[in-house]
C-alpha cells in the first residue's frame, strides 16, 4: 500500500489536470471492480455490486492537488503564475516546480534578500512579485516551451523519514486515493461506489456532480487533513496529532457530519482496536459538504489521515495513521453490512419527485 502511495504522490495532478492520476488509478483497480467510468467532469467512478442491493455506499477521495497555472511571460523569459487552490505564499520562494505537460524543471524566484530594502525584508513576498525561472533568457524561449494555462506543480520526492513518517507532496489527498484502491480489492454486501473526484481544491467541484449521479444512502470521504501539533501552537488548536490514529471529523465549514454515522465509526474503531482521534477544530472543508446536501440529502462522515504542512511540497504523514485510516474504512464497511437498516434513507414521502 505504501508503494501505491509513493507512486500516487509522484504523479502530478493539479485541479483540472487529473488525467495522469486517473489513468494510474484505473490500472490499479482494473479487474477488481464491476465498472469504472469517467464522468463528464472527469471523476473516476468505480462500482462494485453488492450481494444484496438496496443500499448504496459512496466512498470519495479527491485526485487533484494544489499547484499553479501559467498566466504570463516576462520579457526576460520568466513565467508569471497564479496558485490553483489554497497555497500559503510564504512557502513559495525557492521551491522547485515542474511546468507543463513536458515537465520542464523550474524554480520559484523572487528578489534576493541582499537587494531588499529593510522594510521589504519584514514583509511576505506576494505571488505577483514571484516568477518561475526555467532558465530561459527570452520571452520567445519560454513561450516555445510553455503555454498560457499550462499547470505547474511542486517537485518533491516521496521520502521515508524517521519514526514511521513519510514526506511527500500531494498526500492530500493521494492518501485517500490509496485507501480507496485498497478497499476496492474487497467486496461488501451493499453496492459500493468509490469516487476519485476532481477539482476538490478549487471548490469541491467533482464531488457535487458525482453525488448527484450516484444518489448514495451514506457517503464517507477519505481525506488528508490538517495537523498542527507543532511548536508555538497551543494544544487546543492542534486540530489533529501525528501518530494518534485516523481522524474523525465532527463538524467543519462545509459539513455537519452525521452523528450516528460518526459514532458508528468511532465505536467500530474501538471494537477493532484501531487508533482513532477526533479532529479538534471546525475549520476547513471537503467534498462531504457537497455530498451532504446533494438531492434529498446524504448522511456523511469523513475519515482522515493527519498531515502536517498540508498544501506544501513537504507534507508529513505517519505511516501508522495511514494504516489506521485504511483499516478503519475497511472495518466500518464490514460492520455496516449488518447495520444497513440503521442508515437506510429516512423519510418515505415525496419520493416521486426525485
Amino acid at each position: 500500500m505504501l508503494d501505491i502511495l509513493k507512486e500516487l504522490t509522484d504523479i502530478n495532478g493539479v485541479s483540472g489536470d487529473e488525467g495522469d492520476v486517473r489513468e494510474y488509478i484505473k490500472k490499479q483497480i482494473e479487474g477488481y471492480v464491476d465498472e469504472a467510468r469517467v464522468d463528464r467532469i472527469g471523476n473516476l467512478i468505480a462500482y462494485k455490486k453488492g450481494k444484496t442491493s438496496g443500499f448504496t455506499v459512496m466512498l470519495s477521495a479527491h485526485m487533484d492537488e494544489v499547484g499553479f497555472i501559467v498566466t504570463g511571460f516576462s520579457e526576460n523569459g520568466n513565467i508569471k503564475f497564479q496558485p490553483v487552490g489554497g497555497i500559503d505564499e510564504r512557502i513559495l520562494p525557492g521551491k522547485r516546480v515542474l511546468v507543463g505537460k513536458r515537465k520542464i524543471p523550474g524554480i520559484i524566484g523572487s528578489k534576493p534578500v541582499h537587494l531588499l530594502e529593510k522594510e521589504e525584508r519584514e514583509k511576505v513576498v506576494k505571488i505577483k512579485d514571484m516568477y518561475i525561472d526555467i532558465g530561459c533568457d527570452s520571452k520567445d524561449c519560454a513561450e516555445d516551451l510553455v503555454k498560457l494555462g499550462d499547470y505547474a506543480v511542486f517537485f518533491s520526492e516521496f521520502t521515508e523519514l524517521g519514526n514511521n513518517t513519510v514526506k511527500a507532496k500531494a498526500l492530500d489527498d493521494r492518501a485517500g486515493c490509496a485507501v480507496l484502491i485498497e478497499i476496492l480489492r474487497q467486496r461488501f454486501d451493499f453496492d459500493l461506489y468509490a469516487c476519485f473526484t476532481v477539482q476538490e481544491e478549487v471548490g469541491l467541484r467533482g464531488a457535487e456532480v458525482a453525488a448527484y449521479s450516484i444518489r448514495p444512502d451514506i457517503a464517507v470521504v477519505i481525506e488528508g487533513t490538517t495537523c498542527s501539533d507543532v511548536p508555538g501552537i497551543s494544544r487546543q488548536n492542534f486540530s489533529t496529532e501525528l501518530g494518534k490514529g485516523a481522524a474523525l471529523a465532527i463538524m467543519d465549514r462545509t459539513s455537519y457530519y452525521d452523528k450516528e454515522l460518526v459514532d458508528f465509526i468511532y465505536n467500530t474503531a474501538k471494537k477493532n482496536n484501531i487508533d482513532v482521534q477526533f479532529k479538534q477544530t471546525t475549520t476547513g472543508g471537503n467534498d462531504a459538504g457537497k455530498i451532504q446536501t446533494s438531492r434529498t440529502g446524504v448522511r456523511v462522515a469523513a475519515i482522515s489521515v493527519p498531515c502536517r504542512y498540508i498544501h506544501s511540497p513537504v507534507s508529513i504523514m505517519n505511516i501508522k495513521d495511514f494504516e489506521s485510516c485504511s483499516k478503519l474504512v475497511a472495518a466500518t464497511l464490514k460492520e455496516l453490512e449488518s447495520s444497513v437498516d440503521m442508515f437506510k434513507k429516512a423519510g418515505n414521502g415525496g419520493e416521486k419527485n426525485v
Binding site: 493539479v14 483540472g16 489536470d17 504570463g72 508569471k80 490553483v84
Partner: protein, 341 residues
Amino acid sequence: MLGCLDTLKELTQYTAVSGREYEFAAVLKDKFSEICDSVEIDKFYNVIALKKGMGINGPRIMVLAHLDEIGFLVKSIDKNGFIKFTNVGGIDARILLSHEVIIHGKKDITGVIGAKPPHMLEADEKKKAVKIDELYIDTGMDAKELKKYVSIGDAITLKSHPFFLKDNKYSSKSVDNRCGVTVLIETANELKKLKHKPDVYFVATVQEELNLAGARITSFNIEPDIAIVVDACHGDVPGAPKEVVFPLGKGPAIGIGPILNRELTERMLDTAKENNIPHQVDVEPGSTGTDAWATQVSKYGIPTVLVSIPVRYMHTSIETVHANDIKYAGKLISRFIAERV
C-alpha cells in the same frame, strides 16, 4: 463594423437590475424571436431562445450571457426625502458621487447622488474614500411626495449616457454584460449563414451579479451537453498587471483554467486559429466569477467554455468596449458550433 454597436447601444438603454429583469426580458424575447426558431421566458425571467440544428439527436449547446446589471435598492427614505440605498452586485462607492440615477418606483424618477460637501469635511475625512452608507439620493421631492411613488425595495439604476468613442469604441452603463447578449445575437446571425448540427439554446440569464441564479436554473432545466458562457473581462488600464487585463479590439479572450473543460477550450482556440479570428487567452485560476461556475456542476456536469469580452471600467456607468471584440466573438462561437461540435 458598427452594426453590433447599434445593437449594444439599444440594449444598454434598458434597465435590468438583478431581480428586476422582466421588462428587459420581454424586449429580448422579441429580439431573439427574429433570429431563432422559438423563444420563451421562464418564471425567473430568463430568456431562452432555441435555434434548431440540422442534426437529429445531435448535441445540445447552450450559449449564455447574463442580462442583468448592477444597481441599487431603496433602503430608507428620511424625513426630508433623501433616499439611502444599498447595492445590488459589487460596486465601487468611490465612483458614485455626483452620478445621475433613476429610481424605478411607481414611475421612473430621476435623482442625483450626493454626500457631505468637501468644505464641510474634517481634514482626516477628506483623505478617506466615501462609503456607500454615507451617500444619498436627492430627487428634489419632499418625503411626502416621494413616498407616493417610491417605496422601500424599489430598484435604482445608473442613468445611461451612451457615448461613442474613437476607433469603434462604445461607453455606457451595463456594457457588462449587454456586450455578451450582443454576442449571442451576433452568433445567431452568423449561424444563419452556416450549417450546424447541434441545437443551440441562446440563454440570457438573470441575477448573475447576485448568485448566478439564472445560470443555475436554466442549466438544470435545459441540461445541455456543452455550455458556452459569454461575459465581460477586464480591459487594459494603466497600472494593472498585464496578465489580468486585456487590450480592447484584439479579439475576445478565451478562458483557460481548472473549472473550464480543457478539451473544448483547445477546440475553441483551434477554431480561432484556423479561421484567423483575433483572440486572446484569459487564464482563470479559480471560479472565473461568471455563470461558468454554475453551469459546470449542474446535474451530471456540463463541460463549459468561457469567452470573454474585454471591458474597461467594469461596474461603472462608463464601461467601455470595442466593436471588434463583439464581432469576433460572434464569428468565433458560431464557427466553433458549426465546425467543432
